[in-house]
Symmetry: C2
């Protein structure tokens, strides 16, 4: 499996270096607005219509304040006459969500202006560059499903573990109505909050359901770094602890406590980045458990990986156009040629970041559980 | 209503000045352990068995790093030989949860070691001094209820608003089983996440239910600062916008979408601090909606406030022993003498902080919905 891990690291490196857009407009338009991810009442950071981000931070006695965002050493802020540190990115950022942090006199802190998001194994600052297609994950006046925090018993890890369960609008009103389930995994350094907080998975589902584009299903999101791997430790990643939690503990709990269709044809697994790696390994280890597989910027399947084609209803493979779109397209073509129902999707203009994965979920959902 | 607001501000001031315990042991025991609220894998801040907190922060080029916690100007950290800033509180802290933040070269940042909690209208760092009675809110191997994020339509504020709904273990399995509901409000500067994150309301309920000490009920928690009041603005607080959201929008939504007993005898309202102020005003405005009232460090009712005693099943009033316990006890005694079912509770050794409110919920829950 080693080549796969190397691919994963390469993808990550590539995407970090590309996550700042290449074109630099002549002038920066002064139409900056607060980022939608700011804490209530906070003006900064701001974003303009071209995708530039501007930061303003209070630290009057500091020597140096830098914003770590993207792969170019970040944005060095300068102290203004008002003693506030201010600065604008050197070029526009890609549309969508970006993690970042401040370095203040050599210490790493979050921007007090923004909400925090769990990534890189820490709660980080987040900023949102409005995407031209942001409507599909917008909060709209439609019926909303719920996101439930559950605590499920996990004998293998000797604790109660947390998961979030998206239930579609109207769930539970008719006890006889039962739903398929997608198990959806976050990436390295993230946790079970990522798909709701950064990914807006619940709003994507609410909107798709309101438009009649999908048959409602349940989504379950839990923590996938069960064996506490650290960065660099992916090469020694052992899937067993997480596979046990997911397959032997979480799935039975969900099937016992939610109105699920508790069989293989109505169970999907998907994951982004490292979560794709987990999805690939677990779906291949447990073909009797899942029928729909999706890797979002998380590698590919080869036809030879699939032992029993009759058990696989869908393979979905995606990434951003700034990652390795050809790898994704070629893998899907090869799977198709081998007789599998394979679909590839490339998110235009995005890298190894959450807009790629929001869009991927939006493309994936209508393909799931079609019969 | 003005005297009430002044009382509220006084309580707040009093409690801030008292939240550092008065006794200073001769020696600080070197048995420090990471605070239970640290981010995964983070060693600092630490807490020892006497309640001292020790902080360690990386900011090698900073001039000054101070921890803002309690009312004595905070703890000034000093830079060690390893260039890390370190310091220990001058005296032990009260048991329970405390908000804090760092001031680094004049800028306010969160400690990168800890999880963040919404308080003071911003996401703040949090630290937990283990309480001698922490067992009642511990995560145990018992059946767990869920905490559901719901998005409910709010025509009056022209958006979908968020609330969290605690449903007890086994909720929904038997459609015919219906539950009473407690509407539970946070304090000033906090939001609808506070009672789960800082308060552990869900674990308190799970444990009480597992021990057979209460009949299960639902808890609903939403944002109470609907009119975006700022500090100092409490004097001009208008209850109407929030009352409309709560009574005309949220309650009908909850009754339509959850298995509730949708009548006045099975509906309670409680709130801490500013949430107590809201509870008092709304329960008195809407005696036909709620039957059980609880003010947690949030003022008192006078017998004259209650127009129709037959509509009130319980009045619960509580605070910490470092607030104004006599006010709470006297108010309950007067209500009792007037023929009301009033109960007071004083949390020993705590101030205007969350351990007072965790304990208050633990005391309140068994008194609710007794018939």
């Amino acid at each position: 499996m080693k080549p796969y891990f190397i691919t994963f690291i390469l993808l990550l490196t590539l995407s970090v270096s590309l996550c700042v857009a290449q074109t630099t407009p002549a002038t920066i338009l002064e139409d900056f607005k607060p980022s939608t991810l700011n804490q209530p009442g906070k003006e900064y950071p701001m974003v303009n219509s071209q995708g530039y981000a501007r930061f303003k931070v209070k630290a009057p006695d500091a020597q140096s304040v830098t914003v770590g965002l993207g792969g170019r050493g970040g944005t060095k802020l300068t102290k203004g006459a008002d003693t506030l540190w201010v600065g604008t990115t050197a070029s526009p950022l890609d549309e969508g969500f970006h993690y970042y942090h401040l370095t203040v006199d050599g210490g790493v802190f979050n921007d007090p202006g923004t909400l925090n998001f769990y990534g890189s194994t820490r709660w980080e600052s987040g900023i949102e560059i409005p995407a031209h297609d942001q409507d599909f994950y917008a909060l709209k006046d439609v019926p909303h499903g719920n996101v439930q925090q559950i605590l499920f018993p996990s004998p293998s890890t000797n604790t109660s573990r947390r998961a979030f369960v998206y239930t579609p609008p109207g769930y539970g009103k008719d006890k006889k109505k039962r739903y398929p389930v997608l198990y959806l995994q976050h990436g390295w350094g993230e946790d079970e909050t990522a798909w709701s907080n950064q990914g807006h998975a619940n709003l994507i589902m609410d909107n798709l359901i309101a438009e009649g584009k999908i048959k409602p299903f349940i989504i379950v999101m839990t923590y996938g770094m069960t064996n506490e791997i650290k960065f660099g430790g992916l090469r020694n990643f052992d899937i067993k602890p997480f596979q046990t939690v997911l397959v032997d503990e979480l799935i039975p709990y969900v099937d016992a406590n939610f109105n699920t269709i508790a069989d293989q044809p109505h169970r999907a697994m998907a994951g982004l980045s490292m979560g794709g790696m987990e999805t690939k390994t677990i779906t291949l280890n447990k073909p009797e458990v899942f029928s729909h597989y999706a890797l979002l910027s998380g590698g590919t399947y080869a036809p030879a990986d699939i032992k029993d084609k009759s058990k696989v209803k869908l393979i979905f493979i995606s990434c951003g156009s700034k990652e390795r779109p050809d790898g994704v397209k070629n893998a899907a073509a090869a799977l198709k040629e081998a007789g599998l129902n394979a679909v590839s999707y490339v998110s235009e203009g995005t890298a190894h970041e959450f807009l790629t994965w929001r869009r991927s979920l939006y493309q994936l959902a209508p393909l799931l559980f079609k019969d």
